[in-house]
Amino acid sequence: MIDLRIELVGVSHHQAPVELRELVAVDVVGASSLARGLADGCEAVVLSTCNRTEVYLAAGDGGDGLARRATDELLRRAGGDAGGLERALYRLSDESAALHLFRVAAGLDSLVPGEGEILGQVREAFEAGTTGPHLDRLFRMALHAGRRARVETAIGESPASVPAAAAALAQQVFGDLDGHAALLVGAGRMSELTARNLLSRGARVVAVANRTAAHGEELARSLGARAVGLDGVVQELAAVDVVVASTSAPGFVLDAVTAGPTIKGRRGRPLLVVDLAVPRDVDPALAQLDGCFVYDIDDLEAVVESSLAGRRVEATRAERIVAEEADRFREWQASLAVVPAIASLRARAEEIRRRELEKAHARLERLSEGDRQAIEAMTAQIVNKILHTPTVRMKEAAVTADGVVYAEVMRHLFGLGEDVGLTEESAGGEDST
């Protein structure tokens, strides 16, 4: 009988600060090599991201000492901080380990609920792991649960940072950002992050305006844009769709008097102005103009806060999906206990059928080839039909605690695994032919 054991040993952002997490963090190559090292007679996958390092181990023979082996390896890597790491380590087994992985894949265990990268990281870890039938099934189902959570809920849809919110707002105004032009006013870190978010969604940065020309040129080069002076910003407004302002200027860089006429000249064509600076770079009066939408840092933070609240609401729906998938895994895991018994029963029945046909060979020879094939198919069908209900009932029982008992009863009744004399059975069977 298969005695599947799944063990998880890991450390994550919940209990361990970065100083501890970095001690055991590995890249994909390292994860692959660690998994190979741990997979001595079992299966192993190492999932290592910036927020967690987790070792998943599985064995079909009960796997004594699996968790100890993984713990020792992680503590060895921690070196002098082994004591601190040991206090932060968590160990989960079987259903709990599976449920944890499903939650991780769905982004429910992440710092930002529903963050998108974790699903890819789980896939990478799976591909780099030393897997067999058990972890293969577990990780495939976890990836499926993660995909379902993202498709069937909106957990991953809303932005979780100010730069991402700015880019999402641009999409809300223009739809597809392909071909839409952005202007950066200021070459600070926030400007750059927002620009990269816009680029990743298809927009292009056409110009970077900065007080310090060298810094502006450097950023412009890296974004494939041209550098302009701050005095050229108003002129650029006629052609661009998105403006990201983030300078340290003490007053407005864009005010209603100088920028107003250019924006009016756009005749209602939408212009999104994102003002990330404190003090603000953009005169809020510009928002009164037709087609001009001005968002300052407080507005964007409110959007992010609302999005995160939405993610938390969606997370409860995603938890239900994860629980469903975890149940399915549990059913599969339970069915393993009866699979060998079912396979033996079917093999026994098939052997009896084949022997009976061989015995009747002399009488069947008088029949045509077509008739013989019909009898062959009919006997196979009879065996299948007789065994169908017991097979289904066994699988159903496997989900409950009775599964093992049913398997034992079936082994006993049919003498599975015993050397039952088929000749004797056949003799009894001859009466009916």
Binding site: A154, Q172, V173, F174, R267, D299, A302, S306, G310
Partner: protein, 256 residues
Amino acid sequence: MAEFLVWPALIAYGEAAVAYAGELRGPGIGGRLATWGVRIGWLAQTALLIVQAFGSDGFPWGTWAGALNLFVWLVVAVYLVWGCTPRYRLLGLAVMPIAAVLLVLAWAGGGTAVDEGNSSGVLLGLHAGFMLAGLAGLTVAAGMGALYLWEDRRLKRRDSHLLRLRLPPLGTLDRLEARITAAALALLSIGIVAGLPRLQGRFDVSMAFTLVLWALVATALVLRREAGLQGRRAAWLQLSGVGLVAIVLPVTHFAS
């Protein structure tokens, strides 16, 4: 038989209108119920139109109430194309309550019953069918315009829930409004041509109104293309135009 089909359509449209209001609280079961309401209602109304078509000797939708019945069916048909996709579901908030009310009016006016119909022949059917399809297109475009104005207002007010209750982007709404209007203009043009032989040299007020309507729609499209008329102004123009049609068309076509 026909009367029995009105009620499922009405109930389903009404259910959809209420369910869309529920969708405002957040995407979920409300939206799905609304979409099914639209589908079932539209199928019931389709069956109703088929029964009317087979039960009448001539064109069964020649009266104002009959035309209203056909118009509602066409509006819901155009809406169904987008209404089933999550991002456009809220367009149903503008379309379905109106569809339900207009269907009640059509029923009260006898437009859902089976009678002899108007025996003026195929050309009347083509004329009325294409004109009503064109008007249905303009109505849905106006619905897009209404959605545009709502979304524009939310963006202007910097609504923090903007990304939680997502409407279609402004740019997409504007483009769709223009495309549907262009398609509606083509349908109106065919409808007008199909109606010309019926005039037999006469030129009445309904024909004059139809031509003015055609010219207005064509001008709006030219202005959009050549003079950059878009966004809020285009949306307001669309809504005003459809409002004007809703008031003037029944008077000019069915007052007698």
